[in-house]
Symmetry: C2
Subunit: 207 residues, 2 copies
């Protein structure tokens, strides 16, 4: 049995959706950011980084969204969530997810987590001010380089889709309209029609 | 034939070392940061992100260090650079590389690339001031959670080792001594003894 540690609407939602798409048997475990549970001793035993997602497996814990997503795709090959037999296509997929993780999510984090990189309040405010501009640049790049669709990898739905979808739902925090990016906006709408996505959102909101 | 686009001492060195460890046939192509070549039109045609590394393959370009490293491991399985037949161990490896990419490299980038996230000079100076503290925290985490060695994954040398090594060589920029972290320091010394590492450094410096 797998257990996904998550907070509603966080990047853990990507792994949550992927687990549902894979047909995996898993438990959901809320890590309550509102009470700083991610920094509490009990959760630090699970993920010393104090972040979500973390996926508990019978063999141990996996962290970091791109690693968890690839693990889900490899563990449930019948779901076809990654081009597992093609190193080049797998690398293209991982490169997309790594860009989301190390550039787009990081750009986003500067609007609310500036204290990671500065102590001075004015500097934190300056990062917060610039974050929407950086996010807009990231999404302009994603729009320009998007596949012919309907999915990130083209015809095949993959673990890149729930990850992109999850981060796209953060655009309103930056007062950015997804309609500025027509292909990304269509992707968002298409994702919202998937039962796995609808169920994941409903289950997270119910907690 | 493969071509690796790199700048000496950058994170592209991880992919460079991995290609040598794999016994791959490849060309090296310098992207001269000193003349801002990474932002020039010609290189943007190769990698629109304006970063290194980029790996040109007969089927197209791959970007993002963890994706390139996994591609090398999958393309040269005889080199044994990743646990390719074990989804859990592969995920542990990818989680390590993703932490380097999205947390440690990002922490490092705040000392010299603060303009990515702020325009105000005082804010950029504040990020620069805090970066060594954040890097020290990252390396404390890496030290505490390091395997029993000798390598990141334990007994087996993998694509995580050149990536960790490359970022460890950046510690002096933060005025951090690798000897503060005994396991990491030993890893650094062990890496410096590998012929692939020695050759990679020599070839980059020769350019």
């Amino acid at each position: 049995m797998l257990t996904l540690y998550y907070y509603p609407g966080s990047c853990a939602r990507a792994s949550h959706i992927a687990l549902r798409e894979a047909g995996a048997d898993f438990d959901l475990q809320l890590v309550d950011f509102a009470s700083a549970e991610q920094h509490a001793h009990a959760y630090r035993q699970i993920n010393p980084k104090g972040r979500v997602p973390a996926l508990a497996t019978p063999r141990g814990i996996i962290t970091e969204s791109p690693a968890i997503l690839a693990f889900i795709a490899q563990s449930y090959p019948a779901a076809g969530l990654a081009p597992l037999d093609d190193a080049f296509e797998f690398a293209r997929l991982q490169a997309f997810n790594n860009y989301l993780c190390s550039t787009v999510h990081v750009a986003h984090a500067h609007i609310r987590r500036g204290e990671r990189w500065a102590d001075d309040e004015a500097a934190i405010a300056e990062m917060k001010r610039k974050a929407p501009q950086v996010m807009h640049e990231c999404y302009s790049f994603l729009e320009e380089t998007f596949s012919d669709g309907p999915w990130v990898m083209g015809d095949s739905y993959s673990i890149a889709d729930p990850y992109l979808f999850t981060i796209t739902t953060w655009l309103p925090l930056h007062r950015i309209e997804s309609t500025d990016f027509p292909k990304i906006h269509d992707h968002l709408q298409r994702m919202l029609q998937r039962p796995a996505v609808q169920t994941a959102i409903a289950m997270e909101q119910a907690d």
